[in-house]
């Protein structure tokens, strides 16, 4: 039937799922602040070509202590649907070498969603661990990690048993740092445990499982 497969409204439902790039790669210095904007999302096949769903988000991060950064974000695409989707996350420096060339950041987070149409509310905890490798004089970062959203609802629509307890991903990315500005590119392999055929959305789906997310971001840092 070819219904609305290429541009249907169902494509757009992915906007809520793992819709942003990594908020905190390496915690900020104490007192440091950063404002970021991100663009990108899960990839779909559209008109014969793979494209990332163009989702946007903005975020603010604050280094509240050495190795501890608090960040808050807002999905600006979902706002257009009358849905407030916000997240708050805490980046914790778990380990770094003395030379500060390599480190590990753990980031628990919570996503909140509320729609102004019917007042439906959802929240999803998120856990993420990122290892980073710093190189160059600026210095730039390579990073990679794993993360997951956690589904708290035990049932699905119509009382069906919940079978998707986790929505995990693996991430690799690069952050290109300048004096005040940072530029981020990132790939995520999302929901790799989910079989994506048959599905209503024509995801770019390696081996028929999950989808590849593509993201870019820009940040402006403010020192104390």
């Amino acid at each position: 039937m070819g219904i609305i497969k290429s541009i249907g409204w169902l494509v757009l439902v992915v906007l809520f799922a793992s819709c942003n790039a990594t908020r905190i790669i390496k915690p900020l210095e104490k007192g440091e602040k950063a404002v970021s904007a991100g663009f990108g999302g899960p990839s779909i096949n559209f008109a014969g070509a793979p494209i990332p769903v163009p989702l946007t988000s903005i975020s603010y991060a604050h280094g509240i202590d050495t190795g501890l950064t608090l960040a808050a974000g807002l999905n600006t695409t979902s706002l257009a649907f009358g849905v407030v989707q916000a997240d708050i996350s805490l980046g914790i420096n778990v380990y770094q070498t003395k030379a500060k060339k390599f480190g590990l950041t753990a980031t628990p987070a919570m996503h909140f969603m509320y729609d102004f149409n019917e007042g439906n509310y959802r929240n999803y905890p998120q856990l993420e661990a990122i290892t980073w490798w710093q190189y160059g004089e600026k210095p730039n970062l390579f990073y990679g990690g794993v993360g997951t959203w956690v589904e708290l609802n035990k049932t699905k629509a119509h009382g069906q048993v919940q079978t998707n307890e986790l929505l995990p991903w693996v991430t690799i990315g690069h952050q290109f740092n300048r004096a005040k500005w940072s530029y981020l590119t990132e790939l995520k392999y999302l929901g790799f445990q989910h079989e994506t055929f048959p599905l209503v959305v024509d995801y770019v789906s390696p081996g028929g499982r999950g989808t590849i997310g593509v993201y870019i971001g820009i940040s402006r840092r403010f020192t104390k």
């Binding site: 039937m1 070819g2 219904i3 609305i4 497969k5 249907g8 409204w9 169902l10 494509v11 757009l12 439902v13 992915v14 809520f16 799922a17 979902s78 706002l79 257009a80 649907f81 009358g82 849905v83 969603m113 729609d115 102004f116 149409n117 019917e118 439906n120 959802r122 999803y124 959203w149 589904e151 609802n153 049932t155 699905k156 629509a157 119509h158 069906q160 919940q162 998707n164 929505l167 929901g191 989910h194 055929f197 048959p198 599905l199 209503v200 959305v201």
Partner: protein, 295 residues
């Protein structure tokens, strides 16, 4: 400053994007119905063996919802109108694509159920589809199918001889009007590739239990409405349906049915739009006919 924020929020949320209209994949570029002469894409190819005599094809306009959002819609009846008072009629509610010309071959196929023209078949273009006046709406689906029932009733059809068949999006009016009677109470319900609700679409696509209200104001809910249906129920679905998943949508609708009799046909190798093709037309028609003949 506060005022500005409130005004901005009010404007934002009063003009929210809603995805309801994407449900209707209608083609309203037609200026007239061509049926057999239509040269565009069709749902299935059936061949001359399933042709019906021109004298039995009755194109007509109906006034739908005259006391509300009145629209002129188009419908086709295949059979002898004079025999509606005694015949059994299948009211076919098509899917969300294009128009009646696209589904005409299916109407002809159903007109061969049992034997050629053993049953009368009625199908319509919902408002916004084909030459029917638009725009499309959820309530319009129900009103337009009900308008067909009103015409059939006027022609002498009784509830016990009305069978309603909904395919894909057409499962919504078929289920709704069987569960919540308006003009007529269909005696049997047949659903092909039904969807449970927009919430299941959202869950399938996102992997999360997100409410459908995040994206749409549609209230179509076959998964719950089917619980009210007591009439015998026939469900057929492609196991490999690549749009409306059999497991999450179809099985939910079938599993929630609590009426007097149900039968399931899970068609191996079939996707969303080729169930009769994969089954084979004789086998498909045989399954439909056996269900109709059930007491």
């Amino acid at each position: 400053m506060k005022k500005i924020i409130y005004i901005a929020l009010a404007v934002l949320f009063s003009s929210c994007l809603r995805l309801d209209s994407f449900l209707y994949n209608a083609d309203d570029s037609l200026t007239e119905y061509k049926l057999d002469a239509y040269e565009g894409e069709v749902e299935i190819e059936v061949g001359p063996a399933y042709d019906v005599d021109d004298s039995l094809i009755h194109l007509m306009t109906l006034q739908s919802d005259p006391s509300g959002e009145n629209k002129t819609i188009w419908a086709v009846y295949v059979g002898r109108i004079a025999n509606i008072a005694t015949d059994t009629i299948i009211l076919y509610c098509h899917g969300n694509k294009d128009h009646l010309d696209f589904y005409w071959s299916r109407v002809k196929l159903l007109a061969n159920t049992g034997s050629k023209n053993r049953y009368g078949i009625m199908a319509m273009d919902y408002r916004g589809f084909g030459v029917s006046e638009g725009p499309s709406s959820e309530e319009g689906l129900y009103a337009d199918v009900d308008a067909c029932m009103a015409w059939l009733k006027q022609m002498g059809l009784s509830d016990d001889r009305l069978i309603i068949y909904g395919y894909s999006m057409g499962s919504a009016p078929a289920t709704e009007l069987t569960a919540n009677v308006r003009t007529m109470q269909p005696s049997k319900l047949m659903l092909e590739a039904p969807f449970a609700s927009e919430e299941v679409f959202v869950e399938d696509a996102s992997g999360l239990s997100l409410p459908g209200s995040y994206f749409t104001n549609l209230e179509i809910n076959n998964g719950d409405e089917i619980k009210k249906v007591e009439e015998p129920f026939f469900w057929i679905h492609g196991v490999n349906d690549d749009y409306i998943q059999m497991k999450t949508h179809g099985e939910t609708v079938f599993g929630n049915y609590q009426g007097s009799y149900s039968e399931a046909h899970r068609i191996e190798g079939a996707v969303h739009n080729d169930v009769p093709v994969v089954m084979g037309y004789p086998e498909y028609l045989d399954a439909v006919h056996k269900f109709i003949l059930r007491p």
